[in-house]
């Protein structure tokens, strides 16, 4: 009798084990395989998509700049691709096309339209374009308004510091005098500096400020090179917010500044005083109107919403950064002030990182592919994350 009880108990244990195995282990093994299979399918789709995005020029081939000063119409684009027109090299992207991926005052692509053009119905994706290494930076004007200092921290995206990176800093600043229209914009190049073992470097520039004048605004362009792989970043003192003055676009050879109703004080008058262009090699003064009489405002809501200027051949100079000096009254009501504005807005609004459809992955399996690309002469990392729509 006791032996039988043991037999039955053993049978129950064995049956339970088989039940657990059948219910939990076998499906989970199958699920893992299905997940792998789904990932592989996603990888094939992602490979095809990234190939189209990076190697195809799209149609029309100049779709990024074909609308000129008019608002961009995404339905005119029949095929999507970011490759630079007629460039024989692979992985070279057109800055005018890239600028259509993020918010652009002259119009940009919607996520649904790009998804449709890429044939990715049933999938979701994110495109990220970011510099090759991360550069954290800040700029401060001293309390006595006589000097400008900056801190830079260079690291890889996993947080590992990059020592011995060479940092070239160009400080652009505006000076304001006692009289209402007394101001000046200047630039100084700092001596090259190296990051320490923790990837940090800092510098201070004492500015020769005439008596009765003070530094009003400052921006610093950092050209950071690691083994001669260079990246450019720009940092500005946080107040006043330069985007409150206008938003700048670069479309082919056109420079466009636009004001919209959502900007604070959009009905206030703005005069564009100077434009400087920076790339890896050079800095060029593109426009200068710093001397009165000022005439009618260049930008004022309801009076003149868009200001533009064409500079033939500008796009061949591959301008990475445009610095505008704008005379406005957004800071002190009733009194003129001068602000520095960094453009193109799309490229620099998020510290040089462009994210198209940023968001979390919403399904179990996802793939991420990344490639090195060149935009306006600068090396970027292009990343495509793809997952199935839930």
């Amino acid at each position: 009798m006791t032996g039988e009880a043991y037999d039955h108990l053993a049978a129950v244990v064995v049956l339970c084990t088989i039940f657990v195995f059948a219910v939990f282990v076998v499906p989970s093994l199958a699920y893992v395989n299905l997940l792998y299979l789904e990932q592989q399918q996603l990888r094939n789709v992602a490979l095809s998509a990234i190939k189209t995005i990076l190697f195809d020029e799209g149609y029309p081939a100049n779709w990024g700049s074909m609308h000129g000063l008019s608002q961009f119409n995404q339905s005119d684009v029949k095929r999507f691709g970011l490759a630079l027109l007629s460039d024989p090299s692979l992985y070279v992207l057109d800055p005018a096309k890239v600028q259509r991926l993020a918010y652009n005052p002259m119009g940009n692509f919607s996520y649904s339209r790009v998804r449709e053009l890429l044939g990715l119905t049933g999938y979701d994706f994110t495109i990220v374009l970011r510099p090759q290494f991360s550069v954290d930076k800040d700029v401060t004007i001293s309390s006595d308004k006589k000097s400008i200092s900056f801190n830079v921290n260079v690291s890889r995206y996993d947080g590992q510091p990059v020592p011995n990176a060479i940092v070239y800093a160009t400080i652009i600043y505006t000076l304001k005098g006692n009289k209402p229209d007394e101001f000046d914009t200047k630039a100084i190049n700092m001596e090259k500096k190296y990051t320490d073992s923790l990837g940090r470097c800092k510098g201070t520039a004492t500015i020769p400020v005439p008596s009765g004048w003070e530094i009003r605004d400052a921006a610093v362009i950092f050209r950071v090179t690691v083994a001669d792989r260079a990246t450019i970043v720009v940092s500005k003192q946080s107040t006043p917010n330069p985007d409150d003055a206008a938003k700048v676009s670069l479309v082919g050879d056109y420079i466009i500044a636009r004001i919209d109703e959502s900007l604070p004080g959009s009905k206030d008058a703005r005069w564009i005083c100077s434009i400087m262009m920076y790339n890896f090699e050079t800095s060029i003064n593109l426009y200068n109107a710093t001397v009165p009489p000022w005439g009618d405002p260049d930008l004022q809501k309801g009076f003149r919403d868009i200001w533009s200027m064409i500079l033939p051949g500008l796009s061949y100079g591959e301008p990475a950064i445009l610095i505008f000096t704008i005379r406005t009254d957004i800071e002190d009501k009733g009194g003129r002030t001068i602000v520095l504005l960094i453009g193109p807005y799309t490229m620099w609004s998020q510290g040089g990182v462009i994210e198209f459809n940023p968001g979390a992955v919403t399904s179990g399996a996802s793939v991420s592919l990344q490639r090195d690309v060149i935009i306006a002469g600068m090396a970027y990392i292009a990343e495509l994350r793809l997952w199935k729509t839930k």
């Binding site: 076998v26 792998y36 299979l37 490639r371 990392i381």
Partner: protein, 152 residues
């Protein structure tokens, strides 16, 4: 009476043994399938992607006219080549690079690598990319760059 009880007990034990054997057959079938199924996570797919990344990075550095300079300069800029690869490759990818001449002699006397060397021998998914640099400036002196990549 005693005999009949003993036969009954033996039959019960046999059923348990049968059940165990059946479950072992099921388990072994599943394990067998799991081991021998070519899952998409297998090394073939992973190395394919790493090869694409490796070729893309070497092409990009070469396109910026840096690769030849790193290799041919006197003295060669191996530290710069290491740093350039480190910032260009994804952060979870380890590499090991060797430069050969046409006779198969290694030209870099220092390691151009990132990550533990052990992983290159233990990993099942090591990708290898071969890239040829024909020369520098006006001198024809081909070098074969072999870049090994593995995900850490």
């Amino acid at each position: 009476m005693w005999k009949s009880k003993s036969v009954k007990g033996s039959r019960g034990q046999m059923r348990v043994v049968e059940a165990i054997m059946a479950s072992l057959i099921v388990v072994s079938a599943v394990v067998f399938l799991y081991i021998f199924t070519a899952t998409p996570s297998s090394s073939t797919y992973e190395t394919g992607e790493l090869e694409k990344i490796g070729h893309n990075v070497l092409h990009d550095i070469d396109e910026q006219r840096l690769l030849a300079r790193y290799i041919y300069n006197s003295p060669p800029e191996w530290a710069n080549l290491t740093a350039a690869l480190m910032v260009s490759l994804p952060t979870d990818v380890y590499f090991n690079l060797t430069v050969y001449d046409l006779n198969g002699n290694a030209k870099n006397n220092v390691m151009v690598s990132y990550g533990s060397q052990q992983i290159f021998t233990t990993s099942k998914a090591v990708a290898s990319v071969t890239y040829i640099v024909p020369g520098y400036k006006t001198i024809y002196d081909p070098r074969i760059v072999v870049l090994q990549l593995v995900r850490g």
